[in-house]
């Protein structure tokens, strides 16, 4: 009977393993009021949440002119300092769109500068009423943003901390007139079985 027992051992181990296979790695936010995340990566809902919160904060608290003047803003692409390939252009677009829709700013766009120069050059040669060089309005403020990530592991727990910082710089004075940051924390616990 020894040989039969010997055979049963690996079979029992496999059966036990299969029974326990239903448990999976769990992923959760540190903040229980947040929606259920799918992973600890910086996802689309994080992107939307961050852009919305930051813009709303800026509209509410930044020391902007109250006389109805709509300052001219340029926005620097968000700097990705994380360990993920994030489409920061998309975050930049979300912030700009929300600010434009607030009706409080006008925008200059440096990302389409080459096309603009090409168009102006064309107008000088071919248009009846070309826009003259040097007519553009100078930006008064520059918006810069950083997204950084710190990951820590303690045993089975992985803690991922994202910090999004937005700075509004006054180009006339060189001072930073406003800044805010939003933090997102996600935790992941590897299951035992």
């Amino acid at each position: 009977m020894k040989s039969a027992n010997l055979l049963l051992l690996p079979a029992a181990a496999l059966a036990a393993a299969l029974l326990l296979a239903g448990c999976a790695t769990t992923i959760d936010y540190g903040d229980p009021t947040s929606t259920k995340p799918l992973s600890t990566d910086f996802g689309s809902s994080d992107l939307q949440q961050t852009a919305t919160a930051m813009v709303d904060s800026m509209l509410a608290t930044a020391p902007l002119p109250a006389d109805g003047h709509r300052p001219v803003l340029i926005i620097d692409p968000v700097k990705n300092k994380t360990m993920q390939h994030i489409d920061t252009e998309s975050i930049t677009d979300s912030i700009r769109t929300r600010l434009i829709r607030s009706g409080r700013f006008t925008f200059q766009d440096r990302t389409t500068e080459a096309s603009l120069q090409q168009e102006l050059a064309y107008q000088q040669q071919a248009a009846a009423n070309p826009v003259q060089f040097g007519q553009q309005v100078a930006a008064e403020y520059m918006l810069t943003a950083n997204l950084s990530e710190i990951e820590q592991k303690f045993g089975r727990v992985t803690d991922v901390y994202y910090k999004f910082t937005l700075n509004l710089r006054n180009l006339r004075t060189g001072t930073i007139d406003w800044a805010d940051e939003k933090e997102i924390r996600k935790t992941k616990v590897r299951s035992i079985f």
């Binding site: 393993a17 299969l18 990705n80 089975r156 299951s191």
Partner: protein, 498 residues
Amino acid sequence: MLPRTLHPIAAPLAAALLAGCGTFSHYPTGVNQVVLGPMDRGEDLRPATAELVSRIQGRDEVLFASEAGRTAQLYGDYAASRDAFDKAIARTAAQGDEAVFAARVAAQQASAVLVNDKAIEYRAPAYEQALVHHYQALNYLGSRDLDGAGVEIRRANRVQEEALRQHDAEVAKAASRNDSSASDPLADAPSETRTAVSKAYAGLDELAGQAKNSFLNAAVFFLSAVVWEMRGEANDAYIDYKRALELAPSTPALQTSAIRLAKRLGMREDLADLSRRFPDAASTPAAGTEAYAGKAHLVVMVEEGHVAQKADLYIPFPVSGGLGAINIPVYGKCPSPAGRITLHVPGAPDAPLAPLCRISSLAARALSERMPGILARQIARAVAKSAALGAAGNIDGGHYHGHGHDQHSGGADAAVLLLSLYNVASEQADLRSWLTLPDTIQAAEAWPDASSGTATASLRWAGGGGIDLPVTLAPGKTTLLYVTRADWAFYSHAFVQP
């Protein structure tokens, strides 16, 4: 009808037969023939890459994805290389997220005890994981995507930091346990086995040489620092130059870079320390000063040879009822191929290249760290097999070969014979490792005049031979020239700071 005792061997035999026979069933041989041979001869690597890509699945997904990523990059297909490395990265991340005692892993481990270690899914050691990100960063540089390169560099650093943290924790745990025999799988092994294993360890130590651990790689830190400099993040660059310098203190490119940035960042105490340790580099001017006006930063990294390959070593392991053997992977002696190379570029003093790392040493150290686990599985297997052998010859409770006239004896003999053959045939060491990696990586830097926009960088080997490569230079910007030499074939890539 099959004798009752054949049943225990039927399943493992079938598993062994189904384990894959083809070119790559013996890992080093397959890669040598299909990939490394053409690589050494400078042949088109596309067919080899296609072969590797077709194997990115199953147990060896990470391994073949890493090999394919590397070969595709050598011939400049950055997009294909990126796809392959992405697969290796994703699979490695998924392995890290698996449950601590995942059923799938448990099944593989059980299967490994019955067959051999090759039944276990390939998990890249930390030095390979860091190098996947290292080469992936080059793919992003090749696509002029500095943000993407930055992400990969951070990931490479995370792998190394995490490995260091785990290593420290294990050392602390071992120290607090204060009982080394508790984790020694050979505690009850016969003395001849212990002696043979000690010799194998000594061989690994010899190849590991100066490598303090298996996961900190100065070449990865150096590339990291170069990417930070390209991104204008001097502080991050400085930290990684310093980390690299701790691992490869005699490399001039690291000494001058660390001092150049220490001066610029006003790190007074560090600077005093660096100047004392490296007097030859102490007069390096601060970054961003007049001394560099109109000059380009040319960084050259040269890889040579192929990383050492594992070989198997049979070690006697007497078990009750007869002789047994275990088969473990080892690295033999292998001389470093690193040549003495000088970089010559017009308008700058000649710069000798100096070693950053030897990947074979990291591999040997990694194998040495994994050896207790390998030995534990090997011994479990030897014991299981000897028990099966004993059971096969033990029909009706008799002793091995004790029932020559029993009506089952024909079946018992057949079972014993088959099991013995199976035991020998299935006893294969796990020789898998990322083999298209180079053995050594060296580096140098120069600051040539950039006014003409281009220059020819010449690399000359002391023993003869060399290569001239055209590079694009821009004032105040970095150009990274990355050269791979495999035998007499050269592969080169120039990455210009966007």
